[in-house]
């Protein structure tokens, strides 16, 4: 029970700090909206087939780059004044710190996605606000936030940490993102679930593997 309370305390702390500054959500939100606008004008999508092919990719590019901004901000908050050391000094299981930070990061990404999905519907006229797509977005976000939290903790100890995070994160998260794009595409086009189920399964497998590995190695990553 204490474990869950400690995870909740970390999430509540991140929410309280964000409510005070709104730095993370505003930067992620503005970035996401700009990317949507740029895609909308740059691609000049007129044919239905091209729209359906390009939109899932554009959606996930928006999500992961906005997520990257959030991860960097989350990391810098913990670096400031040695707060990460403060967290590591507490007598809690390191995995509670990992889950607290990862769930907090996922929560902020989901809030931005709640804005991004309707905007995609408006700009691209595609049926993205539907249960299957929302499920895929939630699954992709959880995996991305999990591995992103681990790797941002790793990047903390490097000199060019803001540059290092995407270099570390993109190759690791790429298989999961490909599965997310493919599954989103199938769900959005209204294909039978059986036709894109393998991508959904792959997404779930990557989520489980990435989060499990992150959970196991987090302790070794954050300690010198």
């Amino acid at each position: 029970m204490n474990y869950l309370k400690q995870v909740a305390a970390i999430i509540a702390k991140d929410i309280a700090a964000e409510l005070r500054t709104r730095e993370m959500l505003s930067s992620m939100g503005v970035f996401a909206i700009l990317v949507i606008i740029v895609f909308n004008f740059a691609l000049e999508l007129t044919e239905r087939q091209i729209i359906e092919t390009a939109t899932p990719g554009a959606l996930w590019v928006t999500i992961i780059f906005a997520g990257m901004l959030g991860l960097n901000r989350s990391l810098s908050v913990e670096l400031d004044k040695g707060c990460l050391d403060g967290l590591l000094l507490t007598p809690v299981d390191r995995s509670a710190i990992f889950f607290g930070k990862a769930l907090g990061n996922a929560l902020f990404m989901l809030i931005v996605e709640a804005i991004v999905l309707p905007l995609f519907v408006v700009f691209f006229n595609v049926p993205l606000v539907q249960p299957w797509v929302i499920l895929i977005v939630v699954l992709g976000t959880l995996g991305f936030a999990g591995v992103g939290t681990l790797l941002s903790s790793m990047a903390v100890n490097t000199r060019a940490r803001e540059v290092m995070l995407p270099i570390l994160l993109f190759p690791v998260a790429m298989p999961e993102l490909i599965a997310a794009v493919k599954a989103t595409s199938g769900a959005m086009m209204g294909l039978p679930v059986s036709e894109w189920q393998q991508w959904l399964s792959l997404l779930i497998v990557f989520d489980v593997v990435l989060v499990a590995v992150s959970f196991m190695v987090f302790e070794y990553v954050v300690e010198e």
């Binding site: 500054t21 400031d80 004044k81 403060g86």
Partner: protein
């Protein structure tokens, strides 16, 4: 309380600590002095369970590190030159967060108590980033003693403070941070380090090169030893 045996810490080819031995009984105040690069901060980070030793053993309150690190952390309070406080949160929110992480009983009353101890009760709802450096350091002490630790680790706590703020911090620490506790403090400041210590230890180039109890210490001889080992 604290037992360090043959402690070695290396970062790649750089050896920061070379077989340090240190034993600190309950209630003793030990000041660890040494020049930059002597290994003081590395030593304190290991004692605080933030860094793993390369070899050697560290035992805190009967818990051997790193295996017993989680239990040992309950008895450790750390004050460093960094405050470990979230600037966007208020003083009270910071203490509430740490109190929940340490599972402090009767947290509201304890927060009020430690804020009054460090003279910041009137600023409890203000964001920490609006505090002066001295006030932030006093709040860092409140954070460090919130869970009633039996071992206080003080890593250059006076860094960045002006004379007034340092004097006030010293008063707060003597009344709040160190009372009845085992304390290990690192500092460059020989005068201040000597004034508060029961025992002084000189660390140079990763080794303990001098140690003596305060009551049997010849200050001039100590300063000469410091000069010899740090030049």
């Amino acid at each position: 309380m604290l037992e360090v045996k043959s402690l070695v810490k290396s970062f790649g080819p750089t050896i920061a600590l070379r077989g340090v031995n240190l034993s600190v009984p309950d209630g003793q105040f030990v000041t660890l002095v040494g020049p930059n690069g002597a290994g003081k901060t590395t030593m304190l980070r290991i004692l605080a369970t933030l860094s793993r030793p390369t070899s050697g053993t560290v035992t805190i309150g009967g818990h051997e590190l790193p295996k017993g690190a989680r239990d040992a952390r309950r008895s450790i309070g750390l004050v460093s030159h960094q405050t470990l406080l979230y600037g966007d949160l208020s003083a009270e929110e910071n203490l509430r967060f740490y109190g929940r992480m340490y599972d402090v009983a009767d947290l509201d009353a304890r927060i009020t108590q430690v804020l009054e101890m460090v003279g910041l009760a009137h600023r409890r709802r203000d964001p920490v980033r609006t505090f002066s450096r001295g006030m932030q350091q006093r709040l860092a002490i409140a954070r460090a003693v919130l869970h009633r630790p039996s071992l206080m680790l003080l890593d250059e706590p006076y860094t960045g403070l002006d004379q007034d703020a340092a004097a006030r911090l010293e008063t707060v620490m003597s009344s709040v941070g160190t009372e009845g506790r085992t304390v290990v403090m690192t500092t460059h400041d020989l005068e201040r380090g000597l004034a508060v210590a029961d025992r002084v230890v000189i660390l140079a180039k990763g080794r303990v090169v001098f140690e003596a109890n305060r009551d049997e210490l010849d200050t001039a001889a100590f300063k000469e030893a410091y000069r010899q080992h740090t030049l």
